[in-house]
């Protein structure tokens, strides 16, 4: 667990250091051990008890049997406890005292009980075996819980991502505002109603299946972005200027869906909408070094030092996470701008990045 160094605790056969909280245990181990497992362990212990008694009991077998039964029962209880909680306090304490107990048991055998040497030795071996079993169980279960918790965290993150994506994709505010414009134009028999409907329809058709796939070609993404900008331009009029400059060869680039769209929505939402002057939103894709540059820039309201809003941070954090999932550490996202200076988001995707993913 300790990175590159030697794990002395493991080497010295000490129980794992970390102990789990009750909630963590409940999460990682929701159920008691299965009946089969319990039965298998019980049978093994029973066989060992009987075998040891038969092999080393001789005339003292009732004493040995009782002692071994007690030891077996203790071990069974300990294993069960460790299965439920690898850091069980009683088991740990007994384990720390293990060598002492073994000595006591053996000494008890040779001394007051006056057992023969090999019978006492059998008792010692059985005690050591029991202690060893507990140690294995503690280490194994500890690892299991750690990995299970990591796995569950990963799963929760994936679920959370899906939820956020779904939320990002619906954008009720955008939809209803667009519908408000459309409704008015239809009622007034304005000629702009039809193109607006077409653009909105195209946007919805492009975005709804967008999020089903893990990757999609940039050409599809750009089509959705263009539709979105078309709708916004119709709504905002001359307040929104658009420049789209996509390198032909970049259109085949495969990217996580919604990547550019989220950034474009951010640019409109936080760059254009709050600005009193017309703002240009610029979308670019071109070769840069050994990879591709995707860029969304606006010359609008710009980044604010302490942004109280939830949405921009969320959108950006999402985008970062999705880049990481799709391309690993190779891809990067940088943000540039300041109050009144607009905002530029640059994504660099190296060639062959994440092809293994």
């Amino acid at each position: 667990m300790s990175g590159s160094g030697v794990d002395w605790r493991l080497l010295l056969m000490l129980p794992p250091k970390r102990r789990f909280e009750a909630e963590e245990l409940a999460r990682a181990i929701p159920e008691p051990p299965s009946r089969e497992l319990s039965l298998a362990v019980a049978l093994n212990i029973a066989f060992m008890v009987v075998g040891f008694t038969l092999a080393f009991g001789r005339q003292h077998w009732p004493v040995l049997l009782v002692l071994l039964l007690a030891l077996g029962a203790g071990t069974a209880w300990g294993l069960h406890a460790v299965w439920r909680d690898p850091g069980n306090r009683v088991v740990r304490t007994v384990y720390y005292l293990g060598p002492l107990l073994c000595g006591v048991v053996a000494g008890l055998g040779v001394g007051p009980l006056a057992l023969p040497r090999d019978t006492a030795l059998a008792l010692l071996v059985a005690s050591l075996a029991s202690v060893l079993c507990l140690w294995f169980a503690m280490v194994y279960r500890h690892r299991y819980v750690l990995m299970r918790l990591a796995e569950l965290d990963e799963r929760d993150r994936a679920v959370e991502m899906a939820r956020r994506l779904a939320a990002a994709q619906i954008q009720p505010h955008f939809l209803f505002n667009s519908l408000a414009t459309l409704q008015h134009w239809v009622a007034e028999k304005d000629d702009r109603a039809l193109p607006m409907l077409e653009a909105l329809n195209g946007y919805l058709r492009a975005t709804l299946p967008l999020f089903d796939r893990a990757r999609l070609p940039l050409s599809d993404e750009v089509a959705a972005v263009r539709r979105y900008l078309q709708v916004m331009q119709m709504r905002l009029g001359e307040r929104l200027l658009v420049e789209v400059d996509i390198d032909e060869a970049a259109l085949r680039l495969e990217i996580p869906p919604g990547l550019l769209l989220t950034l474009t929505e951010n640019a409109v939402e936080h760059g254009v909408a709050p600005s009193l002057r017309p703002v240009t939103v610029q979308i670019r894709a071109r070769r840069e070094g050994p990879g591709w540059l995707l860029q969304v820039a606006d010359d609008g309201a710009g980044l604010l030092p302490a942004d109280g809003g939830v949405a921009p941070g969320l959108g950006l954090a999402n985008t970062r996470l999705r880049l990481l999932q799709a391309f690993g550490e190779a891809a990067s996202l940088s943000l540039d701008g300041g109050p009144g200076w607009g905002c530029t988001v640059r994504i660099l995707i190296p060639d062959h990045a994440g092809t293994h993913a």
């Binding site: 009720p172 505002n177 009622a187 709050p274 809003g309 109050p339």
Partner: protein
């Protein structure tokens, strides 16, 4: 009886739609000002003093919430917003009047009915509560960056005036006059930025709007003098000007 109104929405179609719907639902309403953003709306409020304001929430310059906060209950406010606005939950809890876009006549009619009832009984109830809610919502919102330096063209040079040096701003027909005292020396400059836009970029604690066309640095005010029933003016420290305080802002100056 005619009621005067103001509407503000930064998008053309919803604005026109609201206007059309209001003319059907409330024919007695005379809309004096149709504004395209929050800065405009606040300025128009000061100019026309409407009895009721229909405000979009997300607007450039100043949000509908911010405009309503400044109105301070001196006019009935109905918010007009689309689904998905963060403020909606707070509105429901605080019994604020709002209609959703696209606006439908029936829902707008209900809001109008409530406003009319309240207009009949001038002592508006729960204004304090509403104001508190608006203060809260406004505090959560993004604030435009604060201005630190004003760049004013004077002849061939561009003079950089620190905002903290400014004594007052006064809007002229086409310019904004900036009167400042830098390094003990009084000076004046004209800038093109309208006063109503400057307002959102100044610290409201230090710079007080006292008139539709005047913003004054509070620390340079020596006294406020009531001239007669409706009029008040400000005496400045070391300046001869007397700045008018319009009725809306006279509440700022009260003995403690």
């Amino acid at each position: 009886m005619i009621t005067t109104g103001l509407i503000a929405d930064d998008e053309e179609a919803p604005r026109a739609q609201l206007l059309a719907a209001l003319s059907r639902v409330w024919p007695e309403l005379r809309v004096d000002a149709v504004c395209t953003h929050g800065v405009d709306a606040w300025d128009a409020f000061l100019e026309f003093d409407p009895q009721v304001c229909f405000l979009d929430i997300r607007m450039p310059g100043m949000s509908g919430i911010e405009v309503a906060r400044r109105i301070q209950g001196r006019s009935q406010v109905v918010f007009v917003t689309a689904h998905g606005d963060h403020a909606l939950a707070a509105f429901d809890a605080g019994a604020v009047d709002y209609v959703l876009k696209p606006v439908d006549d029936a829902r707008l009619g209900q809001a109008v009915e409530r406003v009319r009832l309240r207009l009949q009984q001038p002592a508006g109830p729960a204004t304090g509560e509403l104001q508190q809610l608006l203060e809260q919502l406004a505090a959560q919102a993004r604030r435009p960056p604060q201005l630190e330096v004003i760049q004013a063209g004077v002849g061939r040079e561009v003079r950089l005036i620190r905002v903290e040096d400014v004594i007052f701003f006064e809007s002229d027909a086409r310019y904004t006059r900036v009167v400042h005292r830098s390094d003990g020396q009084d000076g004046e400059a004209l800038i093109r930025t309208p006063l109503k836009e400057l307002l959102t970029q100044l610290d409201p604690q230090r710079f007080w709007q006292v008139h539709r066309s005047v913003i004054v640095a509070q620390r340079h005010v020596a006294s406020a003098v009531r001239v007669d029933d409706g009029n008040m003016h400000l005496v400045l420290r070391g300046r001869p000007e007397r700045l008018p305080v319009s009725r809306h802002f006279q509440g700022l100056f009260r003995p403690q």
